[in-house]
């Protein structure tokens, strides 16, 4: 049992990563990765929300009528995200202003619905919680890697601080504007998937 729990936590981080293997959550991975800071904020929020909603759905799983299970999952996620954003608005206004853009992206993140449907509906609260944390970390890790590359080469900064020396620009160095555009995120995710497949031969398709 303990082994199974560790597997639930560890597997989604790399071997069975939601973005790399299941190609879920791509839309938000494109939207928030032009800079590091929003990528980390988004990764953290998704981790927390997946873990909590996984636990709630796991507790309810035996009572949910089969035909409306997706709607119930959606209601739980939407209510959770709304409540969290309301609480932040009251007690941490600055954070809530920064997060306001992400609220919609979190609710519609395919990883959330994917984990609820594929894992929490079949497993107990504790493994579900670990599964949520694992998937969240796996998602956040990819976001951070993509955002790191995009911000460094697209804006010459990291976390908004100038990294590329300013005098390089005088010698003809230019920021790569394409990096800021969403298609570049897709190409970068593609490159990571390439590396991932090369390391995990059993996932390769013929």
């Amino acid at each position: 049992m303990a082994n199974k729990n560790i597997k639930a936590l560890k597997e989604p981080i790399w071997v069975n990563n939601s973005i790399l293997v299941q190609i879920l959550g791509i839309c938000s991975a494109l939207a928030v990765t032009s800079q590091l800071k929003p990528a980390i904020v988004m990764g953290l929020s998704v981790t927390i929300i997946v873990a909590i909603s996984n636990v709630i759905i796991s507790l309810l799983r035996d009572t949910i009528p089969n035909r409306i299970r997706i709607i119930i999952q959606l209601v739980v996620v939407a209510a959770l995200v709304t409540i969290v954003s309301e609480i932040l608005k009251a007690f941490a206004y600055d954070v809530s202003v920064q997060l306001s853009v992400y609220v919609g992206l979190i609710i519609t993140n395919c990883i959330l619905m994917g984990r609820l449907e594929a894992f929490a509906m079949q497993n107990g609260p504790w493994p579900s919680f670990l599964d949520g944390i694992g998937n969240g970390i796996g998602y956040a890790a990819i976001l951070v890697v993509v955002a790191f590359v995009r911000e460094l080469f697209g804006s010459g900064t990291l976390f908004g601080y100038q990294i590329v020396p300013l005098n390089w620009y005088e010698h003809g160095y230019l920021n790569n504007g394409l990096m800021i555009m969403p298609p570049m995120a897709l190409i970068l995710v593609g490159c990571i998937i390439w590396v991932h497949r090369a390391k995990n031969k059993d996932l390769q398709e013929n």
Binding site: Q35, P65, R67, I83, S100, R150
Partner: protein
């Protein structure tokens, strides 16, 4: 039925026989992945708690209960936190107004606001200011739409500044800002922009100091007494120009939105910005108006009493 049933845990294939097959014919999983289906046909599929969770009545009841619970929860959370949230929004609006005066990241926003801002006024048709008597507003778009043209009068180091709230649209949603002008009602003393959902890394740069500081010292009113301040394409602003400001590169629509916002909103304020009441032969019964437009009296906010 004598034969047992086995279900493949990987693909759901059901095998009928005495024992699980060595290999699943559908997905190739080994026999260890099969589990026996234990429900017998006579008793039907019995649920653990004896309730049929797939019946229509149960489904409808379940949906109703969940919706009611969630609705109450949301109402409860929203009502208990409302007061704090409103206070935060008011505080945030005041911080934004003060940001236009280059007073950013303050620790005591409310205190600084009451110290620096000496009046919240409305512009009259003739360009004079009259005191605004309502409660402090947090949404200046609706005020603008209903014709209440707010001007905040501030005093910094003994000098008078005027702050005008602006609102418009960017690429994805609303953009808004506050522009602070010097006593001459044309030179930009400071400016602040914010937005609801512009693209991170591109359009959202209008909220950054780097962009906003490009406005400092520019002029709003041109020789024709119209709004001359313009946001142009990045890199196209003439160095010597008093009116042109570089937009954000890669965010043309957001920059155009900011340009449109400045032009449209400030055009409504032309009577105030050009001190019209003092120019057109002076105000009725006012001996101080000499037509020069430099009438000390009308720099002040008229009280309604």
């Amino acid at each position: 039925m004598a034969a047992k049933k086995f279900r493949c845990k990987v693909c759901g294939y059901v095998h009928v026989g005495d024992k699980a097959p060595e290999k699943c014919p559908l997905c190739g999983a080994p026999s260890s992945e099969f589990e026996e289906i234990t429900s017998d046909e006579n008793g039907g599929e019995k649920k653990k708690k004896g309730i049929d969770t797939n019946s229509n009545i149960y489904t409808i009841l379940y949906a109703t209960v969940i919706v009611v619970i969630v609705a109450f929860l949301l109402v409860f959370v929203s009502e208990t936190l409302k007061e704090r949230q409103t206070a935060n929004v008011i505080n945030d609006t005041k911080q934004q107004i003060l940001s236009a005066l280059n007073l950013r990241d303050l620790s005591d926003v409310a205190g600084t606001y009451s110290e620096v801002i000496i009046a919240d006024a409305l512009m009259q048709a003739d360009g004079k200011l009259a005191e605004y008597e309502g409660e402090f507003n947090t949404g200046y778009k609706s005020e603008y739409d209903s014709g209440n043209l707010h001007v905040f009068v501030a005093e910094i180091d003994g000098e008078r500044k005027f702050i005008i709230p602006m609102n418009g649209f960017g690429l994805w949603g609303t953009v808004w800002g506050y522009i602070a002008l010097d006593d001459d009602r044309s030179t930009v003393y400071g400016i602040y922009f914010s937005h609801s959902s512009e693209t991170p890394g591109l359009g959202d740069e209008i909220a950054e100091l780097k962009f906003q500081s490009r406005f400092l010292g520019k002029s709003v009113i041109n020789a024709d007494e119209q709004v001359g301040l313009k946001v142009v394409k990045f890199g196209k602003a003439a160095q010597s120009s008093q009116f042109e400001v570089d937009g954000v590169s890669g965010a043309t629509i957001t920059s155009t939105g900011v340009d449109e916002m400045i032009n449209r909103v400030l055009s409504k304020y032309i009577p105030f910005l050009t001190k019209q009441c003092c120019k057109e032969g002076g105000c009725e019964g006012c001996e101080e108006c000499d037509g020069s437009g430099n009438c000390e009296k009308h720099n002040n906010v008229e009280s309604n009493d």
